[in-house]
């Protein structure tokens, strides 16, 4: 399970910045990081299902194509750097 409840987070951080029809990678990834970095430790711990739960809600609220963030967001070898 996931100790963080992702159901009622403020997804407008992402949905206001990352929009169709082209879903620009720079805007979508920056907004994704802004939303997700506070939960980085939880998300990186793959023994819980926080990451998949979070992405389900992000895709639901933003009507995003499946796989959008995983396919568009690339940075260094450790992953996406948080501020």
């Amino acid at each position: 399970g996931c100790s963080e409840n992702f159901e009622f987070k403020n997804y407008t951080i992402i949905t206001s910045q990352c929009k169709g029809p082209h879903y620009p990678a720079d805007r979508c990834c920056a907004a994704f990081k802004e939303f997700a970095c506070p939960y980085a430790e939880l998300l990186n711990d793959l023994t819980n299902d926080c990451a998949s739960t979070m992405f389900s809600y992000i895709n639901l609220y933003g009507k995003y194509p499946p796989g959008l963030f995983a396919s568009e967001c690339r940075e260094g070898k450790q992953g996406l750097a948080c501020p």
Partner: protein, 393 residues
């Protein structure tokens, strides 16, 4: 060879001349296309979302009363594309922009709110594409604010009118309504709205990379049902795509036919799922569904190797589809098939299901399916209307 349109207009409404990849925009200010007597204002967008280009989105022509563009064109079919960036113009409230747009005798948009539509789709801008047959020597596009809404207005950021070849008509009667055996005729009296154009198994294709018709093609993954993505396939580099006689090469770009999506290497798994796309459509209209096929695998070059059934809205549209068979026992040869489905009235929008499943009756070598591209067009109803209801955010 690409199609070369005789008429090609890219009007930047309310703004200056400009360029976007492959498209030269001309200002409509003081243009002879504007209705002489009509009143309209050229306005700047109140905000610029970084993902919209200056041209044509940062300026608009705003109408508080009925207004017509009269564009001189030769007779024949035209693509009409309307560009909308629904922010505030001239300090007006974006949600008051509710209007109707007609072209010749067809209603393209009715009670249209670009603002509500972009909210519902979480889009920043919209391009609405139509195909209209022009009899005479000009195309009239009329904007009419919704009278039932106080201080309503109409606006448009860009108007594109390009000649197109008559590649979507079905006058030969071979296009059937799914589930019935009756032919469905699309001819010069039919207006169409393109609602989906997907490069299945491939990437987005921008208008300048189309075959001269400035169509946009989108990656199909947004519409795959569930997580059943199957396998994207790309033609081997040494496989040349050769269009069969009688099929103009501008029907679809090479990138559509050289990429595809299939079900995967494991027959047992393939027999237990349908490769499915879900496409939200307006209720109460008929739809022309064009499926593009081309065998891209080097080991599939004969009949009865990859045979599958095609379902549209849970009805069998095609039994025993055999792409290599349709292509005279070749791979690398594009083929397309047209079907018509009717979306009964009810909720404002409904889901159209497009599903593929192996045809085991054929005992084909591979229990698999393949698709390269999908185009879906809304067909005008008996009153000449193409306008659906705005989607609910």
């Amino acid at each position: 060879a690409n199609y070369v349109p005789a008429d090609e207009y890219f009007l930047n409404c309310g703004g200056p001349n400009g360029e976007t990849p492959g498209q030269k925009w001309t200002s409509d200010i003081a243009s002879s296309f504007l209705q002489k007597s009509g009143s309209s204002t050229a306005a700047k967008a109140s905000t610029q979302d970084p993902s919209v280009s200056e041209v044509p989105y940062m300026t608009a022509r705003v109408f508080s009363s009925v207004f017509t563009y009269s564009i001189p064109v030769g007779p024949g079919r035209k693509f009409v594309r309307l560009y909308f960036y629904p922010v505030s113009y001239d300090n007006r409230n974006a949600s008051n922009a509710v209007f109707t747009v007609t072209a010749q005798s067809y209603t393209l948009l009715k009670n249209f709110s670009a603002f509500q539509t972009t909210q519902a789709l979480n889009y920043v801008s919209l391009v609405k594409e139509y195909s209209v047959y022009v009899e005479g020597d000009k195309l009239d596009i009329t904007f009419k604010p919704e009278s039932k809404i106080s201080n309503s207005y109409a606006f448009v950021n860009g108007i594109e009118v390009v000649s197109m070849p008559d590649i979507y008509s079905t006058t030969d009667g071979t296009t059937k309504i799914v589930g019935q055996d009756s032919p469905f005729i699309i001819d010069n009296t039919t207006a169409l709205e393109n609602v989906y154009r997907l490069n299945v198994g491939g990437n987005d294709i921008s208008p300048d990379k189309d075959t001269g018709m400035f169509r946009s093609w989108y990656d199909d993954t947004n519409y795959i049902y569930g997580a059943a993505f199957g396998v994207p396939e790309t033609a081997d580099p040494n496989l040349t795509i050769t269009y069969p006689d009688g099929m103009p090469s501008y029907v679809a770009p090479l990138d559509v036919y050289s990429t595809a999506r299939s079900m995967g290497p494991n027959a047992r798994i393939n027999l237990n799922y349908n490769l499915t796309w879900i496409l939200s459509i307006d209720s109460g209209f008929s739809y022309l569904v064009r499926l593009h096929f081309c065998e891209v695998a080097s080991n599939i070059t004969d009949i009865n190797q990859r045979v599958f059934d095609i379902f549209l809205n849970n009805q069998t549209a095609q039994e025993g589809a055999d792409v290599a068979g349709w292509a005279n026992r070749h791979n690398g040869v594009p083929v397309y098939k047209d079907y018509v489905v009717f979306a009964p009235t009810g909720d404002p929008q409904q889901d159209m299901w497009l599903a593929l499943h192996p045809n085991t009756a054929s005992k084909s070598q591979f229990y698999d399916a393949i698709l390269n591209g999908v185009e879906v067009f809304k067909v005008n109803d008996t009153t000449g209307n193409l306008g659906g209801l705005n989607p609910t955010p």
